[in-house]
């Protein structure tokens, strides 16, 4: 009797912590390689981001020029939302350079995986889809940093004479802040992708997201352009941590404890959204029905 049970019992499946780390790091590398295959979009992307900064350069140039005409250059006539024109151009450039780094399409990848049934294959594998997507996003952003953000910087910085931050330590803090932005952005995208578990067609939501994000994260306009009540609302939302926080760090608008506080808020949102993603996944994944997979 005892002999029989010892033969039939299987060793419980186990993976060491190191094994888990190595597994997920693999996805970073794979994503990096995958995007190397899609180079075309980055060549054109450099052009299009440059167009974008150029467009805003002229738009804000016109705005500030018209402001000075109407108000005179004294008594803050040359300030809009607390920024000078030079700061405003820097704001736009750093926003878009940052966007070229943290951007990803987790929401689209996940939702099409759910709609087309590919999700079933993901569910039987010994990893968590949320973590895989996060690490793939890290690999993608690593690729973007080298192949996309750096070339954009090389073009945009001399073209519009973008100045560095007031203190060179702020380069480091800005980069750290954009890394946290990557986590926040990816986790919000993951949550949006999970909507596909509950809706047949989420194209409309994804379209609205595209517009809403650039607006709510502060990429298009700094929050100080808006009325007080709007600033209060966005201060309580996670989106500020994607662009507004890192860019204002770069501009030196957050010093000392303000800087630490801003980074801590980003960190808190990163963790909070990650946990929310886990929870939503746990609830949603039970609804999956795949026909034949």
């Amino acid at each position: 009797m005892t002999g029989v049970t010892s033969v039939a019992s299987l060793t419980p499946w186990h993976r060491s912590v190191l094994g888990t780390v190595v597994l997920y790091l693999h996805f970073v590398r794979l994503a990096f390689l995958k995007f190397l295959a899609y180079r075309l979009r980055y060549y054109t992307g450099v052009v299009s981001y440059t167009i974008f900064v150029t467009g805003h350069y002229y738009l804000y140039g016109a705005l500030f020029a018209s402001r000075v005409v109407e108000h005179g250059s004294m008594e803050g006539g040359n300030l809009i939302g607390g920024l000078t024109l030079t700061e405003m151009i820097t704001y736009v450039a750093v926003s878009w350079i940052g966007r070229s780094f943290y951007f990803n399409n987790i929401h689209r990848d996940l939702s099409s995986m759910i709609e087309e049934g590919g999700i079933s294959l993901q569910l039987i594998k010994p990893y968590h889809v949320q973590d895989v997507m996060m690490f793939e996003a890290v690999g993608e952003s690593g690729f973007r940093l080298v192949m996309f953000s750096l070339p954009i910087m090389v073009v945009v910085v001399p073209l519009f004479d973008i100045s560095g931050p007031p203190d060179s330590m702020l380069y480091l803090w800005t980069f750290l802040s954009f890394c946290l932005a990557l986590v926040i952005y990816s986790q919000i995208n993951f949550l949006l992708g999970c909507l596909a578990f509950h809706m047949k067609n989420i194209q409309g939501v994804l379209r609205a997201k595209m517009v809403a994000f650039d607006f709510l994260t502060g990429v298009i306009l700094p929050f100080t352009f808006f009325p007080e009540w709007f600033q209060t609302i966005v201060a309580w939302l996670p989106f500020q941590g994607i662009s507004y926080v890192p860019v204002t760090i770069y501009l030196g608008k957050r010093a000392g404890s303000d800087l630490v506080w801003a980074l801590l808020i980003q960190l808190a949102w990163s963790v909070g959204l990650y946990l929310a993603g886990r929870l939503v996944w746990f609830i949603s994944v039970r609804r999956v029905t795949v026909q034949g997979g």
Binding site: I51, G55, L63, S66, M199, G204, V205, F215, F226
Partner: protein
């Protein structure tokens, strides 16, 4: 177009046959959409929300100044309203262009298109519609009427006629640009292609072109001719002595851009090699 069919029916007959069939495509699509009414509702909300965000941005800019390089808020608002009409017309039929490389090239669905005795481009464009385009059209008309009241414009028969000519021409510019980009996926099977970055440029098309420097003006007029989707045609209504005489070049620009794109498309179709799936 199949040569045998033309031989049998002649061009007008063949055209009528294809129009009738694409009518059925649309009917089929409507039936499909009615199955998911909730999604339609959410789509509508999403489009309205996007437009609302754009309006808020415009209003915020104009809360800082009375006029932007001499252009008043109602004038810029009118240009924005106009831009939504061609954009809506374009969005109605463009949804398959946007996902063309993914759906037709990589998944090999284009084989099926080639087997049918129907125009390939029309099959791709009319297979699916984006009804939320109607939303943009109506919203755009509403904004134009509102801004027109602020500008004290009077709408005559000739204005309505001008709108009926200029708005579809402007949407040909959109369709042409994106069709050209889509056709590139016959050679490069990149999943997302060039469309998203160019799509981003659309938002500059709604500002008066005079706020930009000469290189950008040149670029938006001749290279990526998005100045023709809103600014040039809209100046005809808001009466700009400098620009309104250019407005009626819009149909010509639309024709050239769309015609050029169709040529690229044809070469692409000839170049198409199935993935075999």
């Amino acid at each position: 177009m199949s040569t045998t069919e033309i031989w049998r029916r002649g061009y007008p007959g063949e055209f009528r046959r294809q129009v009738r069939i694409f009518g059925f495509y649309f009917a089929q699509f409507v039936k499909m959409r009615l199955a998911y009414r909730m999604d339609f509702f959410i789509d509508t909300l999403a489009v309205s929300f996007s437009s609302l965000v754009q309006l808020v941005i415009l209003a915020t800019l104009f809360s800082k100044v009375e006029a932007l390089r001499g252009w008043s808020f109602p004038q810029v608002l009118f240009i924005y309203g106009f831009s939504l009409v061609p954009l809506g017309l374009f969005n109605l039929t463009s949804i398959n262009l946007y996902r063309f490389s993914d759906k037709f090239i990589i998944q090999g669905k284009f084989d099926r298109v080639l087997l049918r005795p129907l125009n390939t481009l029309a099959q791709v464009m009319f297979e699916s519609f984006n009804v939320s385009g109607f939303n943009e059209i109506f919203l755009g008309l509403g904004i134009m009427i509102f801004a027109g009241m602020k500008l004290q414009l009077t709408w005559g028969v000739e204005d309505v006629l001008a709108l009926l000519i200029l708005a579809p021409s402007a949407s040909l510019v959109f369709t042409g640009v994106f069709l050209g980009i889509t056709s590139v996926s016959f050679w490069h099977e990149d999943r997302m292609g060039l469309a998203p970055p160019v799509y981003n440029v659309i938002r500059f098309s709604r500002y008066p072109i005079t706020i930009f420097g000469a290189p950008v003006r040149f670029f938006m007029t001749f290279v990526l001719p998005f100045a023709w989707v809103a600014f040039y045609p809209a100046t005809w209504f808001i009466g700009s002595p400098e620009f309104s005489r250019w407005a009626f070049l819009t149909p010509l620009v639309g024709g050239i851009v769309f015609g050029g794109a169709v040529l690229i498309w044809r070469r692409g179709v000839a170049n198409y090699a199935s993935t075999g799936s």
